[in-house]
């Protein structure tokens, strides 16, 4: 894995999100928009008026025209992109304290936010850009760190300081918690679905990555389900690879490679062994980059269009781009 570019933000960078075209990305602490020009990245826009405190997470809408920013000031701003300019179209309020994550559903009609107030909120947006709260979910017992949507179903997943992952779906005009995944021994920091949506990866303060698989009712493997909800089982645990908390995990939608961001300043990439049993897969470490940054790596994101291009950001205030190549013989 080699370094392609590195950019200095100035302050710790928490999260970044790569727009679906692969050419633009958002990094923040404040909120900076970068565009790729040839091989280097130019900062095109700085949005410093939207939030009063740290911007913890940003997310591009599936259509690429909107950006959502989640902040410690307890609000979530929705920005509309107009070439290289952004205009704040609305501010979502309601959380009692720091909003930790925001995610758009693939349909583009739903948005999820989560907060230290232990709740997950689901919002619906209509054609007139009006946002409405559809549900407030109080299932977690502690700070909720991350929310992510399933790539093709209207299924929401959340990760929390209470060591669990919870899944939610819509039921009769309201949202309910349909599954709780237990197994991690400490805070679950982040989640990522695989390209098919059948599996979910979770990373934790317990220094492991767990892979969970969905088993629908009447599945061939005989996994028991209650009612009509699928069951989720942990089918693989990657332990012994990370020496500190794993803050982020990203599953490449193009190649299926799994990247992790770790508190030991390193980035790692794992690939599934093609000959392993789908019900009990094994993953091998195919790239390990110690000292990728000089401090904790907070976030990793795969470029959705360009294979092998990985972006990372860190407490050291830098954003870096990496070119990953799958080793021969895998």
């Amino acid at each position: 894995m080699r370094l392609q570019a590195r950019g200095k933000e100035g302050e710790a960078t928490f999260k970044l999100d790569v727009i679906h075209s692969g050419k633009d990305f958002w990094g923040e602490g404040v909120g900076k928009y970068w565009k790729q020009k040839c091989d280097s990245w130019i900062c095109k826009s700085v949005l410093s008026e939207g939030h009063q405190r740290t911007v913890r997470k940003v997310a591009w809408s599936p259509c690429g025209n909107y950006l959502a920013s989640a902040s410690f000031d307890a609000t979530t701003c929705i920005w509309k992109k107009n070439q290289d300019d952004f205009e704040c179209v609305t501010t979502l309020e309601g959380h009692e304290n720091e909003v930790k994550s925001v995610a758009w559903a693939p349909s583009g009609n739903l948005l999820a936010t989560c907060s230290r107030d232990k709740s997950v909120w689901v919002w619906e947006v209509d054609e007139e850009d009006e946002y409405e709260c559809v549900s407030v979910l109080n299932s977690h017992t502690q700070d909720v760190k991350h929310v992510v949507w399933h790539p093709s179903q209207e299924l929401l997943a959340s990760a929390s300081y209470d060591d669990t992952v919870k899944l939610y779906r819509e039921e009769e005009d309201d949202w309910v918690c349909c599954a709780t995944l237990e197994g991690h021994e400490s805070t679950v920091w982040s989640l990522a679905f695989d390209p098919s949506g059948q599996r979910l990866a979770s990373c934790s303060d317990d220094r492991t990555v767990r892979i969970w698989r969905q088993y629908p009712p009447d599945n061939e493997q005989g996994v028991a389900c209650s009612g009509s909800d699928p069951s989720w089982k942990c089918i693989c645990t990657l332990s012994g690879f990370h020496s500190r908390t794993i803050y982020d995990v990203a599953w490449c939608q193009l190649t299926g490679a799994l990247a992790t961001a770790c508190g030991d300043d390193a980035i790692r990439v794992f690939e599934e062994d093609p000959s392993s049993d789908p019900q009990q897969p094994t993953f091998s470490l195919t790239a390990h980059l110690p000292q990728a940054h000089s401090q904790d790596v907070n976030c990793v994101a795969w470029n959705p269009k360009e294979q092998g291009l990985l972006a990372s950001c860190s407490d050291d205030g830098e954003v870096a781009f990496w070119k990953y190549q799958r080793p021969e013989g895998i």
Partner: protein, 137 residues
């Protein structure tokens, strides 16, 4: 032989016997004190929850009256959430503290109330006091 053993028993086992009696007395006293304390705690806690839900119910009833005549699409969503909250509150078992889903249902009611406030664009910041200070203008 048996007779003399009984006589010595009374003396030799006196220590243990007194320990036992003391323990028994202490246990009973602790038990009744515990019940009193428990009852006080239960009353306080129950009052808090009752007060909170009562607030939500009053709020919901008031808004239901206010929105009674409105018929827009948006208002129907508000009404739906309102009716849902009222329904949840009415179904809540007030007389069964051992109901196993008590906290789960309570959290659902709180979540529905928060969603409703968001839809109505109202800030929920009233204080719930157990002393019952009543209304203030």
């Amino acid at each position: 032989m048996a007779g003399s053993q009984d006589m010595f028993d009374a003396i030799v086992m006196a220590d243990e016997r007194f320990h036992g009696e003391g323990y028994q007395e202490g246990y009973e006293e602790g038990n009744s004190l515990g019940i009193i304390e428990g009852r006080q705690y239960g009353t306080l806690h129950g009052a808090k929850i009752g007060s909170e839900i009562g607030c939500y119910q009053g709020f919901a009833f008031a808004w239901r009256c206010l929105l009674h005549s409105c018929t827009t699409e948006k208002d129907s969503k508000k009404m739906k959430a309102l009716e849902s909250l009222i329904g949840m509150i009415e179904k809540f078992p007030y007389d069964d503290p051992t109901y196993d889903k008590l906290h789960e249902d309570l959290d659902k009611i709180r979540g529905k109330f928060k969603q409703l406030c968001s839809l109505l664009n109202v800030q929920p910041d009233f204080k719930i006091s157990v002393e019952g200070s009543g209304l203030s203008f």
